[in-house]
Symmetry: C2
Subunit: 525 residues, 2 copies
């Protein structure tokens, strides 16, 4: 399949006329063809108009129709075969196995939402039947379910060119909810975006959905994104990226005449607490596992373990030594973009120049372009508490271990942390009292609390929360991974006294879809 460098608006392709965007192969530093001419207000207007005219028909498709649509997208992505894998490798510097794994995850994610749609759980259906004889006043017939918010703007992430991008979690959740989607392609992987965009275009067509259900726009700088978020026809925004990018979108969305929700997944340093007994018995193993988690994929994960907390001890010294030793053997890895590489290098320089680092080590270097040399720093709790730069996210394989004098200080430190995506505890039975004492703070600070696990690796399932208090995300009430992500694009509507012919199918008498309904507050299957 030939890449065209065009904007995909509904079922058509258009050449825009703005500044061109070229992908850079980070492994070589060379431009990849074609250039993608930036769109602007005109393209946004066209895509929004189509999305707006499609919204009612799409919202009113049956759950089965939307489930088939999601499955068809997955098929179309697989049909792209090697073309997709090759282009994605060129644009990201990620190895083949990783890209193939991520493709599997992306398709699995689409299928999970298809399963959710068929289960009917997402409706959150409720019926409070009428009580005509009730005194002093009768009760009307009241039925409740959730419906789509309307057209959604999605900003993909650089670090998951498939699973958090054009057909990634935000798009899958919005489609499942019945919302048309307009994606702004990430400028780091425009060719991957076009290939996946074409796959979705094909699925829209073969499922005979209105063309406005999907558009894919390209734009350098902030103009196109701003136009998209401020268009009155857009009703929600999904974003994965930096804190500055996410908070800029939040401000734009709040300043609209009609403010809209922004779901921004931003930054997290994912604290890992090593409790004494676990350290005592497993220091070396934990040190090695830690470096494995830290350096996986050049550390370019939202859930990378950027902060380790532990109480000073001989065992902790062993952990630190094992980690120093392990990291020194980790080969340098190509980072996603020259910009990410530069930011990583700046982050390391800042930590290296910070006077409060007691020891540090780094991975192997390389003379290849844009390669991440892993880094591990050790500091003291008093320094960490007094210098917020030590808690800044350095996106990539860099982590800071904070040595605490005692449990009190460690607990106090966890209470000072910002919101996080994850928090991990390494513990054994003898650590239970400390774990119980820390748990209320950890669950308050993070969307996911783990025991004897490392934070990298996010399961796509029903019980996942990939979210957390600000600034980990813009909205702690939501998740961007897992089937609960659909809730971000839904709102409840109550129907009072509607005749059967007007009621949505799922709420009609006799439960025609066979779903689980809350009747008078009681769960009925």
């Amino acid at each position: 399949m030939q890449l065209t460098g065009q904007q995909l608006i509904g079922q058509s392709c258009y050449s825009a006329s703005g500044t061109p965007i070229w992908a850079i192969n980070p492994a070589t530093g060379k431009q990849l063809q074609p250039g993608y001419l930036s769109g602007g207000k005109e393209e946004v207007d066209h895509a929004c108009e189509l999305a707006n005219s499609a919204k009612i028909d799409f919202r009113n498709t049956s759950t089965e129709e939307r489930a088939v649509f999601l499955e068809t997208i997955a098929e179309e992505i697989m049909n792209l075969g090697e073309t997709l894998v090759t282009r994605c490798m060129q644009e990201t510097g990620l190895p083949q196995g990783r890209i193939e794994g991520e493709r599997g995850r992306t398709c699995g994610q689409l299928k999970l939402f298809a399963q959710l749609l068929r289960s009917g759980e997402w409706f959150d259906a409720r019926i409070d039947p009428s009580l005509p004889e009730r005194q002093p006043l009768p009760r009307a017939d009241l039925r409740y379910h959730k419906i789509a918010l309307g057209p959604v703007a999605v900003f993909g992430a650089s670090n998951f060119p498939l699973a958090f991008s054009v057909a990634g979690g935000d798009t899958a959740a919005a489609f499942a909810a019945g919302c048309p989607v307009i994606v702004k392609a990430h400028s780091a992987h425009p060719g991957t975006a076009e290939l996946v965009g074409k796959a979705i275009q094909n699925a829209v067509s073969s499922c005979q959905l209105p063309e406005g259900v999907f558009s894919l726009l390209y734009g350098s700088g902030n103009n196109l994104g701003q136009a998209l978020v401020t268009d009155p026809r857009i009703k929600a925004v999904g974003f994965t990226g930096s804190r500055s990018g996410g908070t800029a979108l939040m401000r734009l969305a709040q300043a609209r005449p009609e403010p809209i929700p922004v779901y921004a997944e931003m930054s997290s340093i994912n604290p890992v607490v090593l409790l004494p007994q676990a350290l005592k018995n497993q220091a070396i193993k934990l040190g090695e596992e830690f470096i494995g988690s830290l350096t996986m994929g050049a550390g370019q994960f939202c859930t990378n373990p950027g902060l380790i907390l532990a109480i000073k001890s001989k065992a902790l010294d062993n952990f630190i030594a094992a980690a120093h030793q392990a990291i020194e053997q980790v080969p340098a890895q190509t980072m996603l973009t020259p910009g990410i590489y530069q930011a990583y290098t700046n982050g390391l320089t800042s930590l290296n120049n910070n006077g409060s680092i007691s020891s540090s080590s780094k991975g192997l270097s390389s003379d290849q372009p844009n390669t991440c040399q892993a880094a591990f720093f050790v500091t003291q709790a008093s320094n960490f508490l007094n210098d917020e730069r030590l808690a800044n996210e350095v996106f990539g394989a860099s982590s800071v271990l904070v040595e605490c004098d005692d449990f009190e200080q460690l607990k106090n430190l966890t209470q000072q942390l910002e919101g996080q995506l994850t928090a991990c505890l390494h513990m054994e039975k003898a650590d239970l009292t400390m774990a119980q004492s820390l748990l209320p703070t950890l669950e308050e600070k993070a969307g996911r609390v783990m025991v004897n696990s490392w934070p990298t690796g996010v399961e796509v399932c029903h019980a996942m929360v990939h979210g957390g208090p600000y600034p980990a995300t813009s909205d702690a009430r939501s998740t961007s991974v897992g089937s609960a992500a659909i809730d971000r694009f839904l709102r409840p509507v109550c129907y009072q006294n509607l005749p059967q012919e007007l009621l949505p199918t799922d709420l009609r008498d006799g439960n025609p879809l066979g779903i689980s309904i809350l009747v008078d507050g009681k769960r009925s299957l």
Copy 2:
């Protein structure tokens, strides 16, 4: 019980030192004793500190403990007996039957949340069991439920001195979620607020909860409210009132270093569409019912029918004539406050001076202070579409009927409406096609869609949505009435690989609370 005029902070009462607030009896225009000296930053700080230290213990109370707490508040409110009813009547000008009814509703609301807590549905519990043999990677044990957001600031409404005030829907929902609550008393009914606040203080004490679970603050002007919303320990805001008040709180909350959700229920004109066949057969009856709904409680309801839409016809002329005739017999009623009365009078003057009114009528006048003379205006669709002042909410018993040339124009007009709390259709079988054509727009514009009902009267139940797109509320994804209101004060947390001893009770093996759980995406009871 003697009113003290003091701030209730935790279990203590304090005299503040700011500008005093006196309630005014709107029926007489006279001040009521005592004066409530305004608090400020100091009182906010104290209340927030207590709330913050109570938050973990309160969040970790069992559902049964919180259910009993809510029921105890209801009992304590009933124990206030005539004292509460009398003071509330004096402060609001509302008749005894209405106050007693609202007291019943308030207690019923507390009990509904107790029922919800015991059902366990609010946890939204999910378990995806571990799959240790899965290839290529095993799945960890993942469990999910919702937990309290943290301390909540509540701003009560003037028009429901009990049901949307100190122990109203926001407070009940936040307590049920496990969030400490700090209420800013509405300055129109400070004595009612103190009585109910004391009832909650008693319940906190007799249930042996930490005192920081509840505080009640008084403040004139905006200072105290601003200090409350910007305090970093506050994690969410509930508000019922004007659009300007609600949007000011939204801006404050968004400008915080850590933005927080604001649930503001603001303004709505609650469109009612009269379809041709219903009009043809029931014009007179509908006209009379309309005036009944419009003038109930001096029209001081968020769901007051402020806009009627219909296609020109002889039957519509009959409806209009019946409404004009009915309203002319409606006695004037005392409004809640001199300020509301003044705003209502200004709204009527503006409509009376609007050149595009084709006919109007009004209710009986009165020489008593602050009395609402009901008003009904008729205009043409072309005027309404060109003059947004005709769509402004006039809080009180005022409504505008818009005559449309045909169904096309009526449908177009519904598409231009702002977000609403409710939308009503009056129809008969022959109107079904029109109703089906309008429904997608009505459900997009409103939180509750009704057929052959009038919008006033909001059932407190599980299937209710008292919410809707902006500017009806700040957040269309929520409701402020009914058990689903608890969701506003919760966020999901995922627990990965936790030992049984660390897991919250509801998520432990064997379902010890006997609640409904989503296991691997399938509902299990």
